[in-house]
Amino acid sequence: MSGELTRRSAAELAELIASGQVSAVDVAQAHLDRIAAVDGEVRAFLHVDAETTLAQARAVDERRAAGERLGPLAGVPIAHKDVFTTADMPTTAGSRILQGWRPPYDATITARLRAAGLVIIGKTNMDEFAMGSSTENSAYGPTRNPWDTSRIPGGSSGGSSAAVAAYEAPLATGTDTGGSIRQPAAVTGIVGVKPTYGGSSRYGLIAFASSLDTPGPFARNVLDAALLHEAFSGHDPMDSTSIDRPVPPVVEAARRGDVAGLRVGVVRELGGEGYQPGVLARFNDSVELLESLGAKVVEVSCPHFGYALPAYYLIAPSECSSNLARFDAMRYGLRVGDDGTRSAEEVMALTRAEGFGPEVKRRIMLGTYALSSGYYDAYYGKAQQVRTLITRDFDAAFEQVDVLVSPTTPTTAFPIGDRVDDPMAMYLADLATIPANLAGNAAISVPCGLSDDGLPVGLQIMAPTLADDRVYRVGAAVERALEDRWGGPLLAKAPELAEADR
């Protein structure tokens, strides 16, 4: 039973718990056992605390026993990205500068998970401060892709994607600044969603690029992702950029899952050169599938998308250079070289040099460069204009079609170590995901098959701002049709991980 529980969907687990067929404690224990068995190999988690986990589960069981009506995800375990503050667990953002830090408060997303009765089973590994596409920039070592443990699980939310793909948790949180949910979901064969910017709260999310950072869900199927999306979204007075509007009906859309009569645009600029042939082949199959399901498919041009990547790698580093100035060795976190003679400024510079990894240093300096007087107009200013043009491209496209589609990533999961000292090669992993971050609209990645190398490929579906329900509707239709064809989810094709002796 214990092994079987880890294969269930979040919706099924919640139903089993609500109907009393299993306890939340049993479900939590099954997942803790799975983590003990495979995480030595996968390394998805930075922190797992069995006692805290079981105490949360016990509380759900007690609420049920007291006759309380539980929410649709009560008792379900969730892996929580280590970028969200948790008052009862360390929060490091994958950085040495925050090693062992215990935040004095919960992020809004954390608080909403708790309110929904979700059981936070641990904190997941990530690229330091969410800067990266592979988790190799974590100060605590890389996470491995459950499909092939010599390969990357994507990033920056790679611990979360690997945990879900390895059946260590049915759900996980992530943050998507340039593709950090969709890209890891694509390369591990699961579902990942970037909601509309402002639809999910940033309060208590350790900031990387504030105009882009967007929390979102990971799951093994579209409905589970929608249930989690609904559980943690909605207006938050603690976040000044939070949208004060109702959450789009994502669960209803995921249940509906049809595309008949829907207009689908294939983005001409997101394909072709630089994309792996096996990725393009699966993408083309998906487009044919959408047509066979009754969608009207047309090709759409977004002429400025080719400038999204360079614009992003000016805007995001600029914002990060400002956001990360808070790590000054004075109030919390690491302090190095305070020998009684050095000045605060010297201690600050020594601490930041030792506490930050190479990618964070690169981006801080790149942002400082782009914001310097004399360079500002040529770099940051131009990038902001490109951002306007990309938003206009989306607006024009969404006048013709209801959703846009593309491959989520140019390639499947690459080997660990391949791009680690070649920043530009690493940045290319975000080629297709960045436009939606710059414009702020909703996007999903759903599994759409295996490439020639036997590794998973993701289909990206993009919808206008606040039309998040549309990406779930189309994603669920694709998922249902493909699972009918395959006789089960794509993840069932992944090789079994060896379970270590407990």
Partner: protein, 116 residues
């Protein structure tokens, strides 16, 4: 952190022609960024930043003189709340993770120069 000009000599226009970012410029950026980098790191970062800056300079190819800049995906307005007293962190909570604390305050290294 101040946005002083990153490089002493180079004219802004030089950047658009893809001119190299020098080791000295990286040293200056590191100072502005409060990063005490070692000699070996400076050379390594100079080569990488040069490659990245040359690549992102492509944004300058877009003719966009009359295009307004976008700083944010959604229109933003100021958000206000009533000015009311609300609970806040207790001093011991706020100081719990401080590298050094003294008399309910954050203890920091000297903030003035030695000659001061």
């Amino acid at each position: 952190m101040s946005n002083e000009r990153a490089a002493g000599g180079a004219a802004p226009g030089a950047a658009s022609t893809g001119s190299a970012i020098t080791r000295d410029e990286v040293a200056h950026l590191a100072r502005l960024s409060r990063l005490a980098l070692g000699e070996d790191e400076l050379g390594h970062f100079a080569a990488q930043l040069d490659e990245i800056i040359s690549a992102v300079a492509r944004v300058q190819q877009v003719a966009a003189q009359d295009i307004p800049p976008t700083s944010h995906a959604l229109p933003i307005t100021n958000v206000f709340r009533p000015d009311e007293v609300r609970p806040s962190l207790a001093p011991e909570q706020a100081l719990a993770e401080a590298p050094a604390a003294e008399e309910q305050r954050f203890r920091v290294p000297r903030i003035l120069g030695e000659e001061a």
